[in-house]
Symmetry: D2
Subunit: 275 residues, 4 copies
């Protein structure tokens, strides 16, 4: 019998690219709050979401993650435990409730890519780099203090796609708000049968669930963000028209659940038989 | 409206990690025919497949691929076009018909990983290296001629997992046979909803379809193959107990279809309510 | 006793990053002939070289290499044998003789970087991608025939730095000429002793030597070339102001010698004591 | 005029792979003290060094570095600032003084490789992974506390070469001692002129100098270390025969000097003319 949460499923279940949930995470975050062109934000909303009353509200996030399954075995073989990530969330309404959704996201490891797809994150591989904090601040390491500067970069397909930075000013009372509303994403897995390429096997709006959330003190300051075009990317359509604040902190949580909010496949099936 | 065959789906449809089929491929193949422990082969068969009457019959394949969609745009940006791959196929019977199935496979690009999942190939990322042929044979390049030696290596997770080689003897009359029967794979996409981790959203046996197949002359010779263990891999259970012949050739085809042979999800649903 | 041609030198001499010469090479070449701003070309000439009478004459080359030492062991472990490369050569005069020199070059493997430094190639690491030719031409592979299109890209530091392409028209009578004159480069290895950072330990003009050169038929056609800026690169100063022809072919040779043309260190020593 | 501390030297001096010193560093260290076979340690000593009175004394170090030049520009583009490193130091005597020397070392970035060569570190590229510490300890991140476990792995050439780990017990009074003596290394840059491959252009014993050293509190505990063989490596000859203690801490310093202790080239020149 083949075992395992994900492919490749195998006799002992040790081969799965993504081990079974729960998945435990901790990461250093760089959050850059901003507003994009409202029309560009509206254009990336999945069916059922309406534009936010604060039009164009977005956040860009760089995260340096460490994660593991319950066994913790990945921590002893860190190439299976660590990854870096860049993503954008846009703000919207779902049935009148404020939500966020992630149109674009990149990570630098296969297990994180696949685990993201399972959660509705539309991940590609990229190269994400982030200024690190060390307890010995100095010329080679910014302090978590006023004037400390933390940057992040994203490249994919051998092209630079994003640069962000925050220059710290003070500990934050409130923390970031643009990425605060509940996250809804689209799980999508295509069909390859001829004639049915437009009928994905999985196509559903899902709502993220997590538990055991912990967070460090949050620093905030002046934000910078640039998004660059590429032939096979549409990220730059969400470039900032106005910048908010930037934030840096450490956050951890555990994921082993997901709520399906809407199944798009029945809608598609119906649409498919209509003129 | 969001467009695109795969995530990320976007307003213009340019962002998809995997562009819409058809997908055109050409690749240099190194095929190593062998027999593994019959019990180990039986243990990787998906439900509905029976052991081959030639017990333990397998092939290991290294492939250096170039691929593109109908636009061919990827050929002008080769990082989106090329990848290398290692996989094993095992032989089996499906309703009495000889078939092959792929239990383990690695590629070195994200688009190839995702495109594989859509076809039922249980891909992970790895580093695949293959001796190249050049028209100017010499000390730095083996000839497609008797004595020419072509090797391949696989690593994943920073561990060497496979080595294979063929030392050419002659043009082959028949070509490889261990990978000849129709290929059936398992498409699998998990569910994350709590309590339903064992009920994948997609779980089906599929049969590969392709067209416009072309093949170069085939060279054959003595085969070598070694598979090495790793904590999170079960590939080495399929290590050779007997070696057959090795083959080298170039092969191209087009894929835009797939046949679902059996939907496992209904079976699972039934099994789930039974003791 | 420590053995080996390069560091790390070790008891058995098996550890050297660069094995002892001779080094045997074969590679697929994409050569794009062009002219850059003559002032920009003059600015990259090492001491002793004068501008070419054909001002601004340059060539950009993408190469997909396979190489090995006399043992050929690297061909059985191709990660130690293969690399891709992008470089520019500019034309100049040395004591009245037409020569070329390489101001900028990138490769994708450590052994090739170090071997290049030993030959006076100022290599950095980059990601070089090139459209491949396969014997089975088709939608996924251009033919070596009129209309066949071969592209190359360079990225380094997560930024795209170059794009080049040739659209083939016919077999070439003459082949490329912009990279034809003898190649002279600068071997340079710094000193770290305080107060002497400006006195490199090795600083000499060298002239490449090679033997056992072989070349395939050469195809030529229309050339395209774009060079892009980056904060830590000056490649874009050599961007084309006029394009020549493009060429594609396979070339092999062996290297185990180098001629020192001029030792700059004595000049520097003298200059250092002068006002 | 060409400017820059290292190749490629360029009109504006912005292209150099290694910017001019001083170089500022900070890094998280995992130090594993051990003893190797004394004969194997003696075999890697450069000329002029004698075995330590504590035969076979070694340390293996994993380091997660961030570094920059005086401008600090690299911190805003972290791909030019960060790298990971694995190396071994062995203990020896130089003119009766306890010293250490580094026979083997791997890093994951080109600038670090080249900067290492300039300091006498015989660097190759590798993949180095290390368990990270985060301020939010939990299932995904070990605490800097008794029971916290930090691991490191090294791979190069697609082969796993080392595993190390420390399970913390307490803050350390003394800190590590096996890597404490002054570090002497060999700067070596080969010659390629035919007939003189055995006469390196640079071959000298150098003594590291640094300043502005800072260090965090040090944790210590039980050490684990395994070194694995590879065809083109001799690291495994230095595998542990006895383990000491393990340590974890953060350390920063600045480098802009180096002392030449012995010039081997004059010795070689003499030896070359003798029978």
């Amino acid at each position: 019998m083949l075992r395992g949460y994900s492919v490749p499923r195998s006799p002992e279940g040790r081969s799965s690219l993504v081990p079974a949930p729960p998945w435990h995470y901790v990461g250093d975050f760089l959050v850059l709050e901003y507003w994009a062109d409202p029309g560009a934000v509206a254009a990336v909303l999945p069916p059922g979401l309406e534009p936010s009353p604060d039009p164009g509200r977005c956040a860009a996030l760089f995260v340096d993650w460490q994660s593991c399954s319950d066994s913790g075995a990945e921590l002893d073989d860190p190439i299976r435990s660590q990854y870096r990530e860049f993503f954008v969330v846009v703000n919207a309404l779902l049935d009148g409730e404020a939500v966020t959704t992630c149109p674009y996201i990149w990570v630098d490891r296969d297990f994180a890519l696949a685990r993201g797809w399972m959660q509705g994150f539309p991940k590609k591989l990229g190269s994400i780099q982030m200024t690190r904090h060390f307890p010995q601040a100095g010329k080679a390491a910014p302090a978590l203090a006023s004037g400390g500067r933390f940057a992040g970069t994203l490249a994919a397909g051998d092209r630079r796609l994003a640069f962000g930075a925050v220059t710290l000013e003070r500990e934050s009372d409130q923390g970031p708000t643009h990425n605060d509303p509940p996250l809804v994403n689209v799980r999508h897995f295509p069909r390859l049968e001829a004639g049915r390429h437009d009928e994905p096997a999985v196509h559903e709006l899902v709502r993220a669930r997590s538990r055991d959330r912990t967070i460090s003190p949050i620093w905030e300051g002046k934000a910078e963000l640039e998004l660059y075009p590429a032939p096979n990317e549409e990220l730059a359509a969400l470039a900032p028209v106005r910048l908010g604040r930037g934030f840096r902190f450490t956050f951890g949580y555990t994921v082993d659940d997901l709520e399906t909010v809407r199944d798009y496949t029945s809608v598609e099936a119906k649409a498919a038989v209509q003129p």
